[in-house]
Every structure is written in structure tokens, then in C-alpha cells.
């Protein structure tokens, strides 16, 4: 993991002092509401339905045990004893008191954490592949590049007042576990024909009101030009992005109105001017940052592996092994997914006891490293095979061993009406209902991989457009109803789902999901054909007929 230099630490400390001063002046009435709003937003503070909400950055999803304990402590001392991991790998606290937020930030600064640019119309905290450095499909480790971008984008004087929020994601693997295709800028590490490392650069992806898949504006960007190219894109966006209509202010709209060719040409022209400036990354800087992401001190295969542990005859354990444990780059090691999908609480929620307990387990079994994922789970990324059974027991005690990774109930769900002032719908009621209705793990395994994603409004924080099944809460004549989309995907080739038909009332959502699933089961060519493959093969028609036909019958 990246460890702060004295300079990095000083910056975070100075930012805490700056925010404390801004907040004190605001509370004394010296900063106007609308101005303070911008200032607090760019430091992660929203004023929500019930209270302020603080979003703390987990840069590219990497945490240490020490940091996770500090987050547990914050939730105990300043909040209600839990935190909520978001779809951008960060963590939110829903109940802090505004006047105490500077103290929270000061506490977090001591463990090298901050809330810089976790919201606001600026370059947001960088997200990445939670399996960076350990996955078997890796081209190169994305984390050094994420850290380099984090530093460049932090308090950038020119890009703090952009037309809209600006999200960057980086992946270094073949599979897209960072949703890079639906970010303002998506970066994929690739090798060119000469074997040099660089980035494929995508621009203009995004969900929300006008969902779009990002387009490639440069197929190969040598790594040393990363920052100059980003700066060129941001400068064109800052000057030309729309400022008159916030729904048309994202870079995807600019790209569309300028056209891919014109946009790319402007970016390239600006880039030519700054390409060989001091933005060109020196090899020493790349090496300096990269050395923080070396391999931990793995045991040898003989020491790490243990057939007996893998074959313990406990059905629950075997299920967990099969579904929540993934193969690892390092022989003798595994990656363990820790789902935060407790049926009784919102997806992504974690209690302070769980945070402390998991921090201990990570220290014992995973080199003190914990990662957060964009589907609101956590990961222990370096577990020796010999420790799997002990880890499973520990996770079971913490209620963090539910073996539903990748299944229907491993869903993404935004907080909705319970917490978010923009919501149309109580999305959490839905997730509870879905968990109750589909609690038979064997049935879930039989259904195979299904990504269910639920958003409480058109802002699409739950990424419903790219769910195999997407659900969007909308309000119609004072009623909460739900729009279904099918066929979305966030895999290597991302796709936006298509609308199934008219909206479904809340009390029929679970029944509708059930209809979709039984329809799928009756249509699939054996267990090897997944839900999304059936939707691709047959389109929406059979599902439409099943849902709207059966709705009519039940009404009759």
C-alpha cells in the first residue's frame, strides 16, 4: 500500500485545518450558504435527509487494518456505530454532526485518510480494480497509476470548479471490475505491439439521466504521458463543458455535441503543447510510487498450501470456498470476497464490530490489507490456503461469510429514500424483500451469476443501467413505482439495459423478479447459459410476455 511521505501528510493536515476554518467561518455566518455548500462538497460533506453525510475516500479501494479500525472508531465516536461502503469504493457516515466533522477528519488524517474530492464538481477520488496486484487476469498493477492521479488531482487549482463531477477509473486487468466504461475517463492498462505499457483512454461514459458507454479517444498512451493527457482532457472540458444546465454538464454531453473526432482533435492539440512539459512523468517518480505496491512477503507454496484445509467436510464452508474464494496470482494463495449484503441491512453497510473484527482477521491472514469493491463488498486479497478454514470461522462469527458472492442477492443498491434527499423510492425495502424471497442458496447457485442493481432515482448511483436486471425507482402521481431494465452489463464490453415495459408497483417487485427468473430457467440451454446470455439470445420479448401477461392475470 502507498504510505504517505511527509509532504503527503502535510497536505492532508493542511486540508483539515483549511476545512476547519471554513466550517467555523460558516457557522459564524461569515460564508454564505451556497458558497459553503461548494466548499464542503469538495470535502465530502452532503447535507442529507436527516443529517450531514460524510464520505471518506478509500483511494482506489485500498485500506490497511489500521485504517479500518480508525473508521470503526469514527463510527463509534461520532456516528451510530456503522458505515456504508459506496459503489465508488468509498465509505459514508450518515449521522455526523457538522461542527465535529473537522475533528473526524483530523482523526482520519492520523491514519493517512481524508475526504478530499469525494463529492463536488471536481475530479473525484479515483476508483480501480479491487483485485489489482492479485488477479489472475492482470496485465499490470493499476494502483501506482491511481496514486499518481490521486496526487495530481488533489487540490488542482485549475480544476476545482468544473461544470460537473468528474470521475476517473483505472483498470489493469482484462475483466472490467472497475466499471471503467461508465466513467468520465476510463483508463485501461494495455501493451502495444512493441510490448510497452500504456493506457487505452476512454472518455464520456456515465450513467445517470443520459447513460452512455465511454468511447476510446486514444488507443495507446505511453504511461509517462498520463498526467499531460488527463490535463489536456480536463482543460478542454473545463473551458467547453456546459454550465447552463446541470443535466447537460457532464463530459459525455460535450463529447456528443462536439463529436468524437472534433473533441479528440482538440484534446490532442492541447496535449501536443504540454506533452513534453514537466507533466511528463520521470521514471524515478513512477518507480518511487510503484515500490509501494510490491508483493507482500508471501510464504512458499509448500508453506502456504494445505490440502486438508481445502477439503474440510463442512457444507457451509465448502459453499463459501466455492463461491466467495477466488484464485490468486501467487501459488498457494487465494482471494477472499467478503460480502456486505446482510439481508437485514442496506447493501454496503458494516458495523463497527465487523470493521474491527475484519481488521484483525486481515492482520492475521491477509498482510493487513483490505479492499473495497464497486459492488459494495470487501476483499481480503492475500490469504494463504492453510488459513482459509480459520478465516472462514472468523468471518462466520462476524456474519461476513454469507456465500452469495456473484448471485442475485449480492446486489447493488443505493440508499434511496431512507438516507438520500434525492430519492423517489425506498430501495432498501426492496432489498429486504428480495433477500427474504430468495434466501435459498442452492436456488441462487442454480440461477448462476446475476447482477441485480437498484437505484432510487435517475441519478443511478445503484448503476441500474448496467445490471443484468436493473431496477429504477420513479415517482408517478405520488406513488413509488419501479422501472425494470434487462440486458445491461458491466463486463469487458459494457452494455446498457433496455426498458422492460411499464413500471411495477412496489408490492409486485419481488413477484416480477421471480417471473423473470422462472422465465429464464425455462428458456436457458442448460445451466451453462447465464441469465444475461439468454436475454442476449432472445431479447426482451419472452420476458415482457411473462411479466405483463402474468400481471394481467393476477389483476383479473
Amino acid at each position: 500500500m502507498y504510505a504517505y511521505s511527509t509532504v503527503d501528510q502535510q497536505l492532508v493536515n493542511e486540508r483539515v485545518a483549511q476545512f476547519r476554518d471554513q466550517t467555523q467561518r460558516f457557522l459564524k455566518g461569515e460564508i454564505a450558504d451556497d458558497e459553503y455548500r461548494m466548499l464542503r462538497l469538495m470535502n465530502g460533506i452532503y447535507i442529507q435527509r436527516h443529517a450531514p453525510m460524510l464520505r471518506v475516500a478509500v483511494p482506489y479501494g485500498q485500506m490497511s487494518s489500521q485504517q479500518l479500525r480508525a473508521l470503526a472508531e469514527v463510527s463509534r465516536t461520532y456516528d451510530k456505530g456503522y458505515g456504508h461502503f459506496t459503489t465508488r469504493q468509498n465509505i459514508q457516515f450518515n449521522w455526523p454532526e457538522l461542527a465535529r466533522i473537522p475533528d473526524i477528519l483530523a482523526d482520519l488524517a492520523q491514519v493517512q485518510m481524508h475526504a478530499i474530492q469525494t463529492s463536488g464538481a471536481c475530479i473525484r477520488s479515483i476508483t480501480s480494480d479491487p483485485l489489482a496486484g492479485v488477479s489472475t487476469d492482470e496485465i499490470a498493477d493499476s494502483r501506482p497509476w491511481c496514486e499518481i492521479i490521486r496526487q495530481w488531482s488533489s487540490l488542482h487549482p485549475e480544476f476545482a470548479y468544473l461544470p460537473r463531477k468528474f470521475k476517473i477509473a483505472v483498470t489493469g486487468a482484462k475483466a472490467d471490475r472497475a466499471a471503467v466504461q461508465v466513467h468520465d475517463i476510463g483508463l485501461r492498462l494495455v501493451h502495444n505491439f512493441q510490448g510497452d505499457l500504456g493506457f487505452e483512454v476512454l472518455v464520456g461514459g456515465g450513467l445517470g439521466r443520459t447513460p452512455m458507454i465511454g468511447q476510446v479517444i486514444r488507443e495507446f498512451l505511453p504511461t509517462e504521458h498520463l498526467l499531460s493527457y488527463l490535463e489536456a482532457i480536463l482543460r478542454i472540458y473545463n473551458l467547453h463543458g456546459r454550465r447552463d444546465n446541470k443535466y447537460k454538464a457532464r463530459i459525455k454531453i460535450l463529447l456528443k455535441s462536439m463529436g468524437l473526432e472534433d473533441f479528440t482533435q482538440q484534446v490532442e492539440a492541447e496535449w501536443q503543447v504540454i506533452k513534453h512539459s514537466d507533466l511528463q512523468l520521470p521514471a524515478e517518480e513512477i518507480a518511487r510510487v510503484s515500490q509501494h505496491f510490491g508483493k507482500p512477503a508471501y510464504l512458499s507454496l509448500a508453506q502456504a498450501s494445505c490440502d486438508k484445509v481445502v477439503s474440510v467436510a463442512d457444507q457451509e464452508y465448502q459453499r463459501w470456498l466455492q463461491h466467495n474464494v477466488l484464485t490468486h496470482q501467487q501459488p498457494g494463495y487465494r482471494i477472499v470476497m467478503v460480502p456486505l449484503k446482510n439481508p437485514m441491512s442496506p447493501p454496503g453497510d458494516i458495523s463497527h464490530q465487523q470493521m474491527d473484527g475484519l481488521a484483525d482477521l486481515a492482520e492475521q491472514f491477509s498482510f493487513g490489507n483490505i479492499r473495497s469493491t464497486h459492488d459494495q463488498n470487501l476483499v481480503l486479497a492475500h490469504v494463504a490456503e492453510k488459513d482459509l478454514y480459520a478465516l472462514w470461522q472468523g468471518l462466520t462469527e462476524l456474519s461476513l461469510a454469507r456465500a452469495n458472492h456473484g448471485t442475485l442477492t449480492d446486489m447493488i443498491n443505493c440508499p434511496g429514500l431512507d438516507y438520500c434527499s434525492l430519492a423517489n423510492a425506498e430501495t432498501l425495502v426492496l432489498s429486504r424483500g428480495i433477500n427474504q424471497a430468495f434466501d435459498d442458496l442452492d436456488y441462487l447457485y442454480d440461477l448462476g451469476p446475476i447482477e441485480l442493481k437498484i437505484s432510487g432515482c435517475i441519478n443511478a448511483c445503484g448503476h441500474h443501467h448496467i445490471g443484468h436486471i436493473g431496477i429504477l425507482g420513479v415517482e408517478k402521481a405520488g406513488q413509488q413505482v419501479y422501472q425494470f431494465t434487462l440486458g445491461g452489463s458491466d463486463s469487458e464490453a459494457a452494455r446498457l439495459g433496455k426498458t422492460l415495459g411499464r413500471s411495477i408497483p412496489q408490492d409486485q417487485v419481488v413477484a416480477t423478479i421471480n417471473t423473470l427468473l422462472t422465465t429464464y430457467l425455462s428458456l436457458r440451454h442448460g445451466i451453462g447459459e447465464s441469465f444475461s446470455e439468454v436475454v442476449n439470445r432472445l431479447g426482451l420479448q419472452p420476458f415482457k410476455e411473462a411479466v405483463y401477461g402474468s400481471a394481467k392475470q393476477s389483476a383479473a
Binding site: 460564508i31 485549475e158 480544476f159 470548479y161 473551458l239
Partner: protein, 139 residues
Amino acid sequence: MDLLNKAQPKQVIAYADWLAAGAPAVAAVKVEADVNVPELLPLASGCTEIQIEFPVFADGRGFSIARLLRREGYTGIIRAVGDVAVDRVAFMQRVGFDAIDLKEGQQADLIPQLIERVQIHYQTSSDGAGPIYTATQNS
């Protein structure tokens, strides 16, 4: 506090009028946030001062305009006018503004400490600070 004490120009011409007059050498030209920057850059050296309008504080185009003027080698005064408040002065100074007309009700005396408060700059900008990795401090 040089930023606040730069003498006001005797005369300020709106950019459109200045262009229409053939971009003569003048004391000061005022540009809006949506100014055509590529058109402005080669003409800028003809005026002693360029004023950049911030229509609302959240509109950040002026930051890039100032940065590009400095990069182009413009050495005259760049003044921020319009919805300008003390909490943005530090960034304004970094991108190349050297004169600030604060909107009403601002506590100008805070400016020195607000500028001092964050001393670490990761990025390169018009203030001559190179990116952090070119500084010797980052070890």
C-alpha cells in the same frame, strides 16, 4: 497584499468592442468566461491588463483562461472580477491571477492566511511551482 492593491486601470474595454476596434494597445480589456480563448491568446500582449469575469463563483472557466494566458507568455496584469471571494484567491493566484477585485462583503484581511494555509502543491501551474515530483522535498 499586492493582489488587492494593483491600481485600477483608467479605462476598461469590453472584449467585443476591443476586437471590433482592431485590438489596439490599451490599458485593460475585460473578457467573459465564454471568451474564445484561441482567438484571445495571440492578441493579449497588446493590453496592459486583462480582466476575467467570474459570472458566478462556481464557474471555473476563468482558471483555465488565466492559465493559458500565462502559458502563452502574457506578462501583463490578469485581474479576477465578478463573483470573486476570498476562498478562491489561493487557487486564483496559482493559475496566474495577480489582481483581485473582491465582491462586496468579503473579509480581505483573511487573504494572506488563506493563501498560506495549504503550502503543498502537487501540481504544476502558472506560479512556477513544478509538480511535486520535481521538488526536492518529496523523499
